[in-house]
């Protein structure tokens, strides 16, 4: 029935993909500046490189009468052509994931909670990425974050692109913005393989179930952060404020847990992913 309410919410999965990729949406630095008071960026994996596609650093999140010293990790798509090029549009190399792990280990040592912002088309597909072990870097991240003895709050803010997103999206609380998408493969990639036609991306997007409400139903995320009317790209400030509120609530709950319990709860949550009986 075409009621007024139904018409308002009848957004297709591909509409969400377009919104999620909108360059005017708040990006990692908008979240960092809007959520942290005194952010200090830190660089490098201590092995070969500093990957500009992964932002990392410490900052303080204040609100609700509490103050948290946190490590922030986030994909950096870039806000200008120069930044886009330098950060490969948020497609991270192994060096970026290794930088994230290095600093997460430091955060764990001092019981600093971690907040990650997920917004990437996927891990960088390149010769050097393969040579330096893209597969190993992602695999290690998954194993590493699953066992980390400090709280991890994940916010999927835009594009949650496959393994490149998941590498910093294993956590205790996975938040997802209303118009973000999160998928095992891009709709275009899926359409190219299963429809043999990249133009069938809207069909693929629908079939893959990649929107926040679908993912909540499937148990892949824990909470949806509502966006301001029209979407986060219409009112970045309000969108960042809504995310800050949800992050603060998650931190409040998680810092109370002793590390053993935290890790057990996280494992139980990850362990429950799946649907495997006919």
């Amino acid at each position: 029935m075409a009621t007024k309410k139904a018409a308002k919410t009848a957004k297709t999965a591909m509409d969400c993909v377009k919104i999620a990729r909108d360059a005017k949406r708040p990006h990692v630095w908008d979240f960092i500046n809007g959520i942290c008071d005194d952010f200090e960026e830190l660089h490098g994996d201590r092995l070969v490189n500093d990957d500009a596609g992964m932002v990392a650093g410490f900052g303080t999140v204040t609100g609700g009468g509490a103050e948290y010293k946190v490590l922030v990790l986030g994909h950096h798509k870039g806000a200008s052509v120069e930044e886009n090029m330098a950060s490969n549009f948020g497609m991270v190399n192994p060096d970026g994931y290794r930088k994230a792990m290095r600093l997460a280990k430091l955060a764990e040592r001092f019981r600093n909670p971690i907040v990650t912002f997920v917004d990437t088309p996927g891990a960088y597909p390149g010769r050097e990425a393969e040579e330096r072990g893209q597969a190993e870097a992602i695999a290690k991240s998954l194993e590493f974050f699953a066992g980390l003895r400090t709280p991890v709050v994940v916010v999927v803010t835009g594009e949650g692109g496959s393994g490149g997103a998941l590498a910093i999206a294993v956590g205790d609380k996975v938040l997802m913005m209303e118009n973000a998408v999160y998928s095992v493969i891009s709709p275009e990639g899926c359409a190219g393989i299963l429809w043999r036609d990249g133009a069938k991306a809207p069909e693929a997007a629908e079939a893959l179930k990649i929107t926040a409400p679908d993912l909540l139903r499937l148990g892949a995320i824990d909470e949806i952060v509502k966006e301001p009317a029209g979407g986060a790209h219409k009112n970045g400030r309000a969108a960042v404020a809504a995310v800050k509120k949800s992050v603060l609530a998650a931190l409040k709950e998680l810092v109370k847990l002793p590390p053993d319990e935290l890790v057990e709860r996280r494992y139980a949550k990850i362990r429950a992913y799946g649907n495997f009986y006919k």
Partner: protein, 272 residues
């Protein structure tokens, strides 16, 4: 001498295709019986071809010791996924009928050279060895049973990556399997990962690359992103041996390339 000798004709591609095997690496043709008799290894270039899970188990587990577990775990078409070529459910059912397997990994307890182990073997013939919920569940359960019974874990991977027909939950199996492997290691048990041809995408980027020992077979394809995807991204010709077992060993991600005939002895030595 020799000017007027009749030249040997180039061998024609034989019409009775079914009787011939073609090596995917060097393209040489041989009698299918020769290929099979040589354990699916190319006599020309030593490429180690694909084996079914059952063939592999027969070559690795001590005779009569393999006891399959978790067969009750299979797939679920929870998204009612269908694409241009049909629906997921019919595709899996056809695969089940063809292979006799009901998931892309076969799991069981066994002994290898007299050492007890938990053995998982992926079958590329099952949906391209893709990682579905059932695959991830079997691997996670295997880790937990291995911890309970103090068994080292050995997994032979062969996969194109995550199973997109299962959407986000297939991606989440990467996290689930990696978390479970982490627990196995924390419990003080070793994990030997054998990356066979091909091991790519979400499987290489999760449990397959997490071995305490990572081994592979000659010329196996191992990588994260597909060659074509990379070429389209960086517009650059890639080396011929890109993403081969030998290339990965050179770059430090593989402990050893082991010939098929030596694999069982190598694993037994690592477990011993």
């Amino acid at each position: 001498m020799g000017w007027f000798e009749p030249k040997a004709e180039k061998p024609k591609i034989p019409p009775a295709k079914a009787l011939w095997a073609i090596c995917p690496k060097c393209k040489s043709h041989m009698d299918k019986a020769v290929w099979k008799k040589n354990n699916c290894i190319c006599p020309k270039c030593n490429y180690h071809g694909r084996l079914s899970a059952r063939e592999r188990i027969a070559q690795v587990a001590d005779e009569g010791t393999f006891a399959e577990v978790f067969r009750e775990v299979s797939y679920s078409d929870h998204l009612k996924f269908h694409d241009a070529t049909g629906d997921y459910k019919s595709k899996v059912e056809a695969t089940i009928a063809k292979t006799g397997e009901n998931e892309s990994v076969v799991m069981g307890t066994c002994e290898i050279g007299g050492h007890k182990a938990m053995l998982g073997v992926m079958d590329f013939a099952f949906m391209g060895g893709s990682l579905g919920s059932g695959t991830g569940e079997r691997i996670a359960r295997a880790c937990e049973q291995a911890i309970a019974e103090r068994r080292p874990l050995v997994i032979f991977s062969a996969s194109g990556g995550a199973r997109m027909h299962e959407g986000i939950l297939s991606l989440m199996q990467m996290a689930k399997t990696s978390a479970a492997i982490g627990r196995l290691k924390d419990a003080g048990l070793p994990y030997i990962s054998v990356l066979t041809d091909p091991t790519t995408g979400g499987v290489s980027a999760s449990y397959a690359m997490l071995g305490d020992i990572n081994v592979t077979e000659p010329k196996a394809l191992i990588g994260f992103a597909g060659r074509r995807v990379i070429e389209n991204t960086i517009h650059q010709k890639l080396p011929d041996d890109f993403q081969s077992a030998e290339y990965l060993e050179k770059h430090g991600f593989i402990d050893k390339i082991v010939e098929r005939a030596e694999m069982k002895a190598f694993i037994a030595k690592m477990l011993g």
